[in-house]
Amino acid sequence: MKVKMLSRNPDNYVRETKLDLQRVPRNYDPTLHPFEVPREYVRALNATKLERVFAKPFLASLDGHRDGVNCLAKHPKSLATVLSGACDGEVRIWNLTKQKCIRAIQAHEGFVRGMCTRFCGTSFFTVGDDKTVKQWKMDAPAYGEEEEPLHTILGKTVYTGIDHHWKEAVFATCGQQVDIWDEQRTSPICSMTWGFDSISSVKFNPIETFLLGSCASDRNIVLYDMRQSTPLKKVILDMRTNTICWNPMEAFIFTAANEDYNLYTFDMRALDTPVVVHKDHVSAVLDVDYSPTGKEFVSASFDKSIRIFPVDKSRSREVYHTKRMQHVICVKWTSDSKYIMCGSDEMNIRLWKANASEKLGVLTSREKAAKDYNQKLKEKFRHHPHIKRIARHRHLPKSIYSQIQEQRIMKEARRRKEINRLKHSKPGSVPVVSEKKKHVVAVVK
């Protein structure tokens, strides 16, 4: 008699080492796993809910300044170091891991208007209301040494902003004109003007480093070429632009933070129409900074909130606010793209997660897989009404909320009026201007 026995190949079920995962034979026959869409939908719904549950973006508040924080600067080589300048002329250097101030300098009399670090990270520059440009060493002075700047340049007029070249020993200041300085000289090597007005901010292009952008209080944004030492083009918007920021991954894209509550992303080769108009703030936008990945940027506003926008979307994906945070004056995205810092009126610097529900620290591979899967699920089902509603829901302070309602009504009224005008006038006599073009007054060659 022949006895039939079950026999299995041990290769199929025995682990090679103890550390391997147990082998689990799977049968992927779709009939054995029915209802894939409903099941995934429920998973997506849960993932979205959990994301909201775990959305705790606020990490820390760095206090120590005795006046509103006016400017922030990132250290180019060290992620943990941040510099901040206050309205009383004090500059502080912070260690983010310890969340402590490691150095405080009385740099200027009056405001510290702007500051920037040198590309190598050994020194930094500040400009203040006392018409001086000062260069400081990054390291604290040795014992017994006095705290004093490396160089001081005394100017004729007030400097309102400063930015350092990304590769060379050159920096640019702005005030009545844009000056380009060699670090070794006490007079600018080149100064560029176009019209007469106070320029509030100047920024070097991080990729094509000879390009500069500036914005002045006569509502215009001017682009300069440092090598040909000439302005290139000027675009005049509806209202004043406070700051601009260049995209670190796309050489010709920059975003302007405007007083009319909007941000405008421009392609510098075609200034007559912004690429995207970003709307969501309910008060003037004061500062903007790009994520180092170039896919998102963060904006700080007078409405006591900061918002994160995807570059190609006109609406923000996230809004951060706290009860005690006042008008946010400056904001920076850290260079590992994980955190956001903002300095506000009430003397604090706040540290936020760039991704509100992200778990900090090391993830196991299973956690990582689950995170990726959940992310994909949310993306896949993001158009479904329930999921969309949960994902979009944000709590807002009453002031912002009511402002939004009010502005919605105003906007609706304006739109209605426009439609009526169009309806009751001779066809063709009232031009239809797109939302993008509406805000650009003129482009000057």
């Binding site: 290139l232 080769r269 590992d336």
Partner: protein, 767 residues
């Protein structure tokens, strides 16, 4: 100013008048008419002066009427006419005097020169500069376009872009910084040092280096030359081979192959005469090739090429031939066994042949001494080994073959399809042969050993035919039954193949049909059945049938539209009443005709009926056949039972579209589910099917393999915690960054300073 001038000239005139008045009283020099003319002129002047005083067209005419002290070189004017002074007028008097030629020339030269344009004003110049600079810059920037596009569309972006190189220290550095501490390490180091093993540079030991140096210069040169020569030869050979390989001509290759075979044959013959052992080796090689073939079944028409040829063989003569050739080759290669064994049978040949045979036998004994079959056949045949040498028999079968090959052309085609048969046949034959070998003497075999060996190398067709012939001979002599068996299927299978050939040409539809049925068309199918099949698919019939159908449809439509069927009436009462106008009716008719194909109304009615049916609650039938009575095939439960166990569904509420003839209201829509459904097609999708597809494909690991799951859930952006992401650089993406630094370029440019700064600089310098 002009007013003052005019006043002055007036004053001057009055003075002149006084002056002129004097001579009037004392006529000394001037004549009468002169005086008249003078007076007139003065008058004219006065008038002019007055008019210029108050008039709009005040113009100062610097007229020089008389000699005066005020002659100025800047004030030359052409007389009275008010025209511009032209150089030519000045030159006119010069024409006559030749002494002024040089002056004239100079003046001419001056005349020919053009005046410079006025320089543009500063703003204009700056604007132009800006425009040029902007154009240049945007050109520079547009080199980033492809990269930006790529990054935007990328499935995944990994940051930081540039990989941080892990610091690899070369082994020497590591070793130099490391010292042997433990006794074991020291021991090992001692050993290494004693043997002069390289510690730092592990390329060559000192001993090896020494041996390298030991080679003399001449030797080295010789060796080098040799190597060079070999390399050159190799490269020539390679080049030639490549060139020859490129030749596409089949004929050429055929010729080359034939030539090669001939050459091989010749060489073999030569070898036999000169060096029998070498010949033996050759033989062994052939034998080996045969064995390989038998093992690998390389030429069994089972490869990819052969299969493709089999498909093509129906239509392509060449393909058919190629198939046959391959089969023949297979046969040739596999049948070597007989040849070899047969070769052993014949011993009585020339001395050379004997020699060879001895060697062969020995080899056989040595090689497969374990095979009793072979041994037995060898010995038994060797006894009877007789002189059936037939140099004249050789041409004869050849001729036979030639004639046969023509006959068999169509017949052999069967073999393409019948490889299984072939295999079986060959097996059978082999067994037969073995029997033959036992039973019969060598007189049955027709070839001498040497010839047989040569035949192996002969071209394929010859071989094939020969085997065929031998088969036939055997069949005729001994067993007729298997022959019949073998030959029976042949005509059977021939028929469909032959049948298909003429039909293939007929129509495209036939071709399609062929395709459908594939190359595995049933060969057993009897002809009439096939034909019937074909008839059924006959294009004429096919076209006829749909025509009829269509006609019917048309008639139906007309009926529906003209004779107002009650259903239509109820549907479209108002429209039909309106139709009474004849013109309108005509138009309607035209439209109907135009859209004759789609019967919208009927479709709608049908749809609605179906919807109504579907929405009706269903009765529940609980009858169990065979319960309490007989059951089985053809028996139904009685009507009484059925009535008793049928649970009638309660009438649902009336349909909402009951009184709306041209509306279907879907009552099945689930409000609770609708809350979870997407209402509007989201942006990037253009059709709801696309969207549905993306939703329907699951991405979880429950439905996908691990690898697929990982691939489906790759995040769009990957960043590393604690790593600084720097802005993209031209070098990162393979562009050349500008070699000159921005700083050097500015310093090369003239410094542009505002006036304010210039002042400041001056001050600084003074200080």
């Amino acid at each position: 100013m002009t007013a003052d001038r005019a006043a002055e000239s007036l004053l001057a005139l009055s003075q002149q008048e006084e002056l002129v008045d004097l001579p009037k009283d004392y006529p000394l020099s001037a004549s009468e008419d002169e005086g008249d003319s003078d007076e007139e002129r003065k008058h004219q002047k006065l008038l002019e002066a007055i008019s210029s005083l108050g008039g709009k067209n005040r113009r100062k005419l610097a007229e020089r009427s008389e000699a005066s002290l005020k002659v100025s070189e800047f004030n030359v004017s052409s007389e009275g006419s008010g025209e511009k002074l032209v150089l030519a007028d000045l030159l006119e008097p010069v024409k006559t005097s030749s002494s002024l030629a040089t002056v004239k020339k100079q003046l001419n030269r001056v005349k020919s020169k053009k005046t410079l344009e006025l320089p543009l004003n500063k703003e204009e110049v700056e604007r132009i500069h800006r425009e040029i600079a902007f154009n240049n810059t945007s050109q520079v920037l547009s080199k980033w376009d492809p990269i930006v596009l790529k990054n935007r569309q990328a499935e995944q972006l990994v940051f930081p872009v540039e990989k941080e190189q892990p610091a690899f220290a070369p082994i020497e550095h590591v070793l130099s910084g490391w010292k042997a501490r433990t006794p074991l390490e020291q021991e090992i180091f001692n050993l290494l040092h004693k043997n002069k093993q390289p510690v730092t540079d592990p390329l060559l030991t000192p001993v090896e280096k020494a041996s390298l140096k030991a080679m003399s210069l001449e030797e080295a040169k010789m060796r080098r030359a040799e190597l060079q020569r070999a390399r050159a030869l190799q490269s020539y050979y390679e080049a030639r081979a490549r060139r020859e390989k490129k030749i596409k001509s089949k004929k050429y290759h055929r010729v080359v192959k034939k030539a090669k075979a001939k050459q091989a044959l010749k060489e073999f013959e030569h070898l036999q005469k000169v060096d029998p052992t070498a010949a033996l080796e050759e033989l062994e090689k052939i034998e080996k090739a045969r064995m390989m073939e038998r093992m690998s079944l390389k030429h069994q028409n089972s490869g990819k090429w052969a299969k493709s040829k089999a498909i093509m063989a129906k239509y392509d003569l060449e393909a058919r031939q190629a198939m046959q050739e391959q089969l023949a080759k297979n046969k040739e290669l596999t049948q070597k066994l007989q040849a070899a064994s047969e070769s052993e049978e014949e011993e009585g040949g020339t001395e050379v042949e004997e020699l060879v045979l001895d060697a062969v036998n020995e080899a056989q004994m040595n090689a497969d001494g374990l095979n009793p079959w072979m041994l037995r056949s060898c010995t038994s045949d060797a006894k009877e080994g007789e002189i059936q040498e037939d140099p004249e028999q050789l041409p004869e079968p050849l001729a036979h073959n030639v004639s046969e090959s023509e006959d068999e052309r169509p017949v052999t085609e069967e073999e393409i399809v019948l490889k299984e048969f072939e295999k079986r046949r060959s097996l059978r034959k082999r067994s037969e042969l073995n029997q033959d070998a036992e039973l019969r003497g060598s007189q049955e075999t027709k070839d001498s050993t040497s010839q047989e060996v040569l035949f192996e190398l002969r071209t394929l067709s010859q071989k094939f035919k020969e085997s065929h012939q031998s088969r036939k001979q055997k069949a005729s002599s001994m067993e007729t039954v298997p022959q019949v068996q073998r030959e029976e299927p042949a005509p059977e299978e021939e028929e469909p193949l032959l049948l298909q050939r003429p039909e293939r040409v007929q129509t495209l539809e036939e071709l399609e049909e062929l395709e459908k049925e594939g190359c595995f068309q049933n060969k057993e199918l009897p002809r009439p059945m096939l034909e019937g099949h074909r008839l059924k698919k006959n294009p004429n019939n096919q076209t006829d049938a749909p025509k009829k159908k269509r006609k019917e449809q048309m008639i139906d439509l007309k009926n529906l539209l003209t004779t107002k069927s009650p259903s239509v009436k109820s549907l479209a009462v108002p429209t039909i009443e309106e139709l009474e106008d004849e013109v309108e009716r005509d138009q309607k008719q035209m439209i109907k005709e135009a859209f004759a194909g789609d019967d919208v109304i009927r479709d709608f009615l049908k749809e609605k009926r179906e919807a109504v049916e579907a929405s009706k609650p269903q009765d529940v039938d609980l009858t169990l056949p065979g319960w309490g009575e007989w059951g089985g095939v053809g028996l139904k439960p009685s009507a009484k039972k059925r009535r008793r166990f049928l649970i009638k569904a309660p009438e649902g509420p009336p349909r909402k579209d009951k009184n709306l003839p041209n509306v279907i209201i879907n009552e099945k829509r689930n409000i609770h589910a609708a809350a979870h459904q997407v209402r509007v097609l989201p942006y990037p999708f253009t059709h709801y099917r696309q969207f549905e597809r993306t939703i329907q494909t699951p991405i979880g690991s429950t439905w996908n393999t691990q690898r697929a799951f990982q691939k489906l859930t790759t995040p769009k952006i990957v960043t590393k915690a604690g790593h600084i992401i720097k802005p993209i650089k031209a070098e990162d993406v393979g562009y050349r960054s500008s070699s000159r630094s921005d700083l050097s370029i500015i310093q090369g440019n003239p410094i542009r300073l505002s006036a304010h700064h210039k002042k400041q600089l001056k001050k600084n310098s003074i200080d």
